[in-house]
């Protein structure tokens, strides 16, 4: 099954790291390129299952460009 982001449900996710134990993969860390959510696939469902995560924490359909800037950029990025 394809891994999706638990927060924005994007498929644009990348494995960042794997935790090893006795030469076996114990868990993997994933990162979403769209909403920047980072998670470990061994975490409790409240953090990594879109069906269990609270609705307020979900970001499916959010326009990321409209998010508040804490320090607005002085210039356009080059």
């Amino acid at each position: 099954m394809k891994t999706i982001c638990p927060r924005c449900e994007s498929t644009g996710v990348t494995q960042m790291h794997a935790g090893m134990e006795n030469d076996q993969v114990l868990w993997r860390v994933w990162h979403c390129k769209d909403c920047a959510y980072t998670w470990r696939d061994s975490e409790p469902a409240e953090s990594i299952d879109p069906k269990v995560r609270p609705a307020w924490a979900q970001m499916k359909g959010v326009d990321f460009d409209s998010l508040r800037q804490v320090i607005p950029p002085a210039h356009k990025p080059t």
Partner: protein, 493 residues
């Protein structure tokens, strides 16, 4: 204005200051006083580290620091939490018994506050323990640090207790303007992270300057530090005052500094330094993060940094913090150092101020004890407190009590509220500046302030019926009797 005053320390305090030069030294010292434990069982990064951190911090008086060295999937890696999580640990750092009351810790900090002679030693980079290992290529923060999620709905893995050093982008040779602060850092990739600051903070000012003028902003993220460093990195000192100098002055012993590869000053004995550079005008989606008011901050666009190199000691310790709904290590770490500058600033103008307790959520609630010079005087003191640098943003609820009420004893504060507050005599000041992450703000950054004058009435106030106070027996005689009763309870007499 520096006066080169040094603090005079007790023999015990001198011994601690001489012995503790790093996080490792402090953990060993805490262990000797039953204030540091190694967690004996294997733990999963989530939720075990979070849960054990909370449990350790629940005992505000004498909760221990906890070291994890059996983290599943991170063989050989170590984490330390709750190092500043109890007043007992802070007391030991100051050379006092771990059962020292909070009020006495406050006055010990105040006593050391007037010291302003920097005590800094330079160590050649090749001799600095932090440089035992260096990584310049193929940097992977996920491999270097045993990262984990602090609260269940955080947006990622946070470095929550690092002390970040940065130089003023327009005056990079000025040591005083070099800033050391604690900012939340979210790891965004193997060699990228975001760092959240606001324009009111020194780091925020430096980010604004760098981007406005197109100048580089290089930072050194110090992880696992001398225990005085995070206490003073989180203290609001003046922009051109050095937090390194403050930390050394308060300890009364030299701090060892060396120079990072990127030119910033760093602690020579720190566990790990991540050197990074602001990616000018680039932002990344950051948060939420379970913040000190006990609620999650929103998701925002935050400045992005790229890692340029990492130095670390052999077998480094990742020191981190549990932060969220209070009471947490965050409150203990910064509470006394939040209270002390407010007290010092008030005391200059109003010697009647007896003590300031701003322990609660970085001073969102503060309690000031003051002797009324005349009727209504306490309200003037409250207004002055709102005008102090920290008060401007943080002091939201202020309670004023008499000078003979201990603001650190909430039973006494409640007595004052119960018997001195007139409901038509409270002050609400609308639309004041406010911490953006305070969930009680009207809009982020703006909200109301509350002043409750719970001091005794004086003429020309209507004194009311039965205003004469009972003279409650107190002082050394009562303290000795309490001690005697305690011994009788233990059956030792």
């Amino acid at each position: 204005m520096a006066t080169e005053k040094t603090v005079s320390l007790s023999a015990e305090a001198k011994a601690v200051a001489a012995r503790v030069g790093s996080l490792r030294d402090f953990l060993a010292y805490l262990g000797e006083h039953e204030q540091c434990v190694s967690w004996p069982d294997p733990v999963m990064p989530e939720p075990d580290i979070r849960n054990i951190s909370v449990a350790a911090g629940n005992n505000v008086s004498t909760g221990p620091a906890v070291i994890f060295d059996k983290i599943r999937g991170y063989p050989g890696k170590r984490i330390a939490v709750n190092v500043h999580g109890s007043f007992g640990n802070l007391a030991l750092l100051l050379g006092l018994p771990k059962t020292t009351p909070v009020r006495e810790l406050f006055f010990e900090i105040i006593r050391r506050w007037g010291s302003d002679k920097p005590l800094l030693e330079r160590v050649a980079p090749e001799k600095a323990p932090v440089n035992e290992n260096r990584i310049d290529k193929n940097i992977n923060l996920y491999d270097l640090l045993p990262l984990y999620r602090i609260n269940a709905n955080d947006g990622g893995f946070y470095i929550g207790k690092a002390c970040v050093v940065s130089r003023d982008p327009l005056d990079p040779d000025n040591f005083g303007k070099q800033n050391v602060g604690i900012y939340r850092i979210q790891v965004m990739g193997p060699d990228t992270f975001t760092l959240l600051s606001i324009p009111a903070h020194d780091m925020g000012r430096q980010m604004l300057m760098a981007e406005q003028h197109g100048k580089p902003l290089k930072v050194s993220v110090m992880i696992g530090n001398h225990p005085a460093m995070p206490m003073f990195a989180a203290t609001p000192v003046g922009y051109d005052e050095s937090e390194f100098a403050y930390a050394s002055q308060m300890m009364g012993a030299p701090l060892r500094l060396t120079t990072a590869v990127n030119g910033t000053d760093i602690l020579a004995d720190t566990e790990m330094v991540i050197e990074g550079e602001l990616q000018l005008n680039q932002r990344e989606v950051e948060g939420p993060f379970g913040e000190f008011p006990g609620s999650y901050s929103g998701v925002r666009k935050v400045p992005l940094f790229r890692v340029t190199g990492v130095s670390h000691r052999n077998n480094p310790i990742f020191e981190n913090i549990y932060i969220g709904k209070g009471w947490t290590e965050h409150d203990t770490l910064i509470g006394l150092n939040t209270s002390a500058p407010i007290y010092a600033q008030l005391k200059k103008d109003f010697p009647e101020v007896a003590a300031v307790n701003a322990l609660y959520q970085h001073g969102l609630t503060g309690i000031i004890s003051v002797k009324n010079r005349f009727s209504g005087f306490a309200k003037s003191v409250a207004m002055r407190a709102l005008g102090t640098p920290h008060g401007t943003m943080y002091l939201k609820n202020l309670i004023l009590v008499d000078e003979n009420v201990d603001p650190f004893d909430l039973n006494q504060v409640m007595w004052a509220l119960s018997t001195r507050t007139r409901a038509n005599d409270i002050i609400v000041i609308p639309n004041m500046p406010m911490v953006p992450i305070d969930p009680a703000a009207e809009v982020p950054g703006k909200g109301h302030r509350l002043i409750i004058d719970a001091t005794s009435f004086m003429a020309p106030d209507n004194l009311g019926a039965d205003p004469h106070l009972v003279d409650r027996p107190m002082g050394p005689e009562i303290d000795a009797l309490m001690q005697r009763l305690s011994e009788l309870q233990k059956g030792s007499v």
